[in-house]
């Protein structure tokens, strides 16, 4: 039973409820037991919220009984998980840190509330890199999340729990946050759709801040349409977030239009990057070919300042993080190392023990870069580089409607494989320029890589506030590569039938679906 619901799309669940094939209560029970079973191996969840889920399911069942369900939107009755940096009143918001292990939030984030208002059923909070610092979910103080496609590999990060929960069929949709790739990269590693909207489309209120000028909330889903519905629900100006902007679009509107006449930019310099795995390169080239075949025009563009993006990002992110994390001081909430005679001792001990290594590194780095002596060497020029990168995109989008490229230089790596922070940072090279400029970007599955047999994602980048462009192209790619794919270990026979379209391999050769057995050969 749980397999059936776990592998259904959000739209299918909503439809099933509408046609009274099942009740919200039985669906919710099945989803919760599915999480229970799958999460023993994946560890995508830090907290499951059965009480809230049952309460929400009861309301949905009442609405179905009274006939009100019909007037509710397409997310009514859809189970959703939230990254654990999002506040949901009366539940824990841990940010996967010892610092907030026991923190119980007194309020709800706007994006979370929007999904609840849309009728979503909150099933729990998902694992992440501590305070979203990382690209593997390994820095969670509660232990790493495993990639559902290969449990010896990382799911990516920092929103690794949300990506893995969707990929393993535990939930049809989830929310994550993306500061330098934290939605797109795990979506790519886990073979699901992940959207980082244009900065300002979604309210950040109630989402624990990492880099305030870079953070943006967005959805994970197993198909483009579900992701679009989620963004429809969470978009728009929030009086509580001064950087959020007016947005009331229907991102599902143009999904069936195809890409005929669209101009898709490709960046030759990206494709020639050192460290770009051949299987990823081949997959992106094949995707470009598919789009061309579908009627899009490929246009070569340049983003000359993207090479400085990593450096600028690792200035801006840590500076903002240093300031945003100053509030964790053991006074109003959070970990407090008791028994110290002076405030300074309590501060130093609490923050030393409450924060993990990567958090400490970034706080220290930010404190250095913002110091009066260094401000004009790093922070200020990084903001000037932000101007140049933004102008690069503006110029590019005079010529094209969307830019296609890789999400990450490689597919998911092994747990514990990369330990040097500076090396790890380089894996964000394709995702961070988008956060710096504020443009939207999303990751769309392209099937499995030829060499690693792990999912490869394509990144689509859109003009600022032109997010519908990337959805339209994503839908076309989905028509080529299939949708609603659940990682094989978690997909049942029932799912195989439910899933629309056959798996295609990432190099574009037709119907060369890689079987689960092939992928898992000898890993366990």
């Amino acid at each position: 039973m749980s397999d059936i619901f776990g592998t259904m799309s959000a739209a299918q669940i909503h439809q099933g409820l509408a046609s009274k094939e099942f009740s919200a209560a039985e669906m919710t029970d099945a989803i919760l037991s599915g999480i229970d079973a799958a999460d023993k191996s994946i560890h995508a969840f830090l907290q499951v919220t059965p009480d809230l889920a049952h309460e929400a399911a009861q309301k949905i069942d009442q609405a179905i009984a009274s006939g009100d369900f019909e007037s509710m939107g397409p997310l009514a009755g859809v189970p959703c998980a939230y990254k654990d940096n999002m506040n949901l009143r009366d539940t824990h918001t841990t940010c996967a840190s010892k610092m907030l292990e026991n923190y119980v939030s007194p309020f709800t984030a706007t994006c979370v509330q929007d999904t609840l208002d849309a009728g979503c059923i909150p099933v729990g909070k998902t694992n992440m890199d501590e305070f979203a610092f990382g690209s593997t979910t390994e820095s969670s103080v509660f232990g790493p999340t495993k990639n559902p496609w290969d449990q010896t590999r990382v799911p990516g990060g920092s929103s690794g729990g949300s990506a893995a929960a969707v990929a393993a069929g535990m939930v049809p949709v989830a929310l994550g946050s993306d500061t330098g790739g934290s939605i797109r990269q795990p979506a790519g590693f886990c073979g699901v759709v992940g959207v980082k909207p244009t900065y300002g489309v979604v309210s950040r209120y109630g989402v624990v801040a990492f880099g305030s000028s870079l953070d943006q909330v967005g959805p994970f889903a197993r198909n483009v349409h579900d992701a679009a519905e989620m963004l429809n629900a969470i978009q728009g100006r929030d009086p509580k977030d001064c950087t959020s902007q007016q947005s009331a679009k229907d991102f599902t509107a143009n999904l069936d239009e195809g890409v005929k006449g669209m101009k898709v930019g490709v960046v030759p310099a990206f494709m020639e990057s050192e460290g770009l795995a051949p299987e990823v390169k081949n997959a992106i080239e094949a995707a470009a070919k598919h789009l061309e075949d579908a009627g899009a025009e490929l246009v070569e563009i340049e983003l000359p300042n993207a090479k400085a993006a990593i450096s600028a990002y690792y200035v801006l992110g840590p500076c903002e993080a240093f300031s945003n994390l100053a509030r964790f001081d053991s006074v109003r909430y959070g970990y407090c190392d008791e028994g110290h005679k002076t405030l300074a001792e309590q501060y130093e001990a609490s923050r030393a023990k409450g924060f993990g290594a990567e958090a400490k590194r970034r706080i220290m780095l930010g404190s250095y870069l913002l110091s009066a002596n260094e401000y004009h060497n790093y922070y200020y020029p990084a903001q000037q580089i932000r101007t140049l990168i933004t102008q690069d995109y503006q110029r590019a989008f005079e010529k094209v409607d969307v830019i296609l490229g890789p999400v990450s230089p490689c597919t998911a790596f092994k747990l514990g494989e990369i330990t040097d922070p500076a090396t790890m940072y380089l894996f964000d090279m394709f995702t961070v320029p988008v956060n710096i400029s504020g443009n939207g970007g999303m990751s769309v599955p392209l099937g499995l890589g030829k060499d690693s047999s792990m999912p490869v994602g394509a990144q689509l980048i859109c003009p600022a506030f032109g997010d519908e462009n990337m959805f339209r192209v994503a839908a076309e790619l989905e028509r080529c590569y299939g949708s609603n794919t659940v990682a094989p270990d978690f997909a049942s026979a029932a799912q195989a039938n439910a899933s629309a379209g056959a798996n295609a391999s990432a190099d574009g050769s037709a119907s060369a679906a890689v079987s689960a057995d092939d992928q898992k050969g000898g890993t366990r």
């Binding site: 950087t243 450096s311 001792e345 130093e348 030393a352 250095y368 903001q383 933004t390």
Partner: protein, 101 residues
């Protein structure tokens, strides 16, 4: 590797950021930071003369404010619920100056 910060600089930074660092942690943190700062040098090699910084990636958005209206906040219990230590309805911190010196 180039050295941008010494162990003593890092100790100062830690004190400023109020993060206790043990003597054992200091060398690794210093090495890590030097490794990271080395990766940041790209931006120092840029000619940025005349380039206006973009502090907010929000286009022309400005003057965002709200009306002077009172709305309910947290109850006293909600406000103090997560506090490690409270007294007389307030949050408690240990001695700030650490007694007379």
């Amino acid at each position: 590797m180039k050295k941008y910060v010494s162990e003593s600089d890092v100790a100062d930074m830690a004190e400023y950021a109020r993060i206790g660092l043990s003597d054992e942690e200091l060398p690794k943190m210093t090495a890590d930071l030097n490794g990271i700062i080395d990766e940041l040098q790209v931006i120092r090699q840029y000619d940025l003369t005349g380039v206006t910084p973009t502090f907010h990636p929000i286009g022309d958005l400005s003057n965002v404010s709200r009306g002077d209206e009172v709305k309910p906040g947290l109850t006293h219990d909600e406000a103090l619920k997560n506090a490690p230590k409270t007294e007389d309805g307030g949050f408690v911190v240990p001695s700030i100056l650490g007694g007379e010196k």
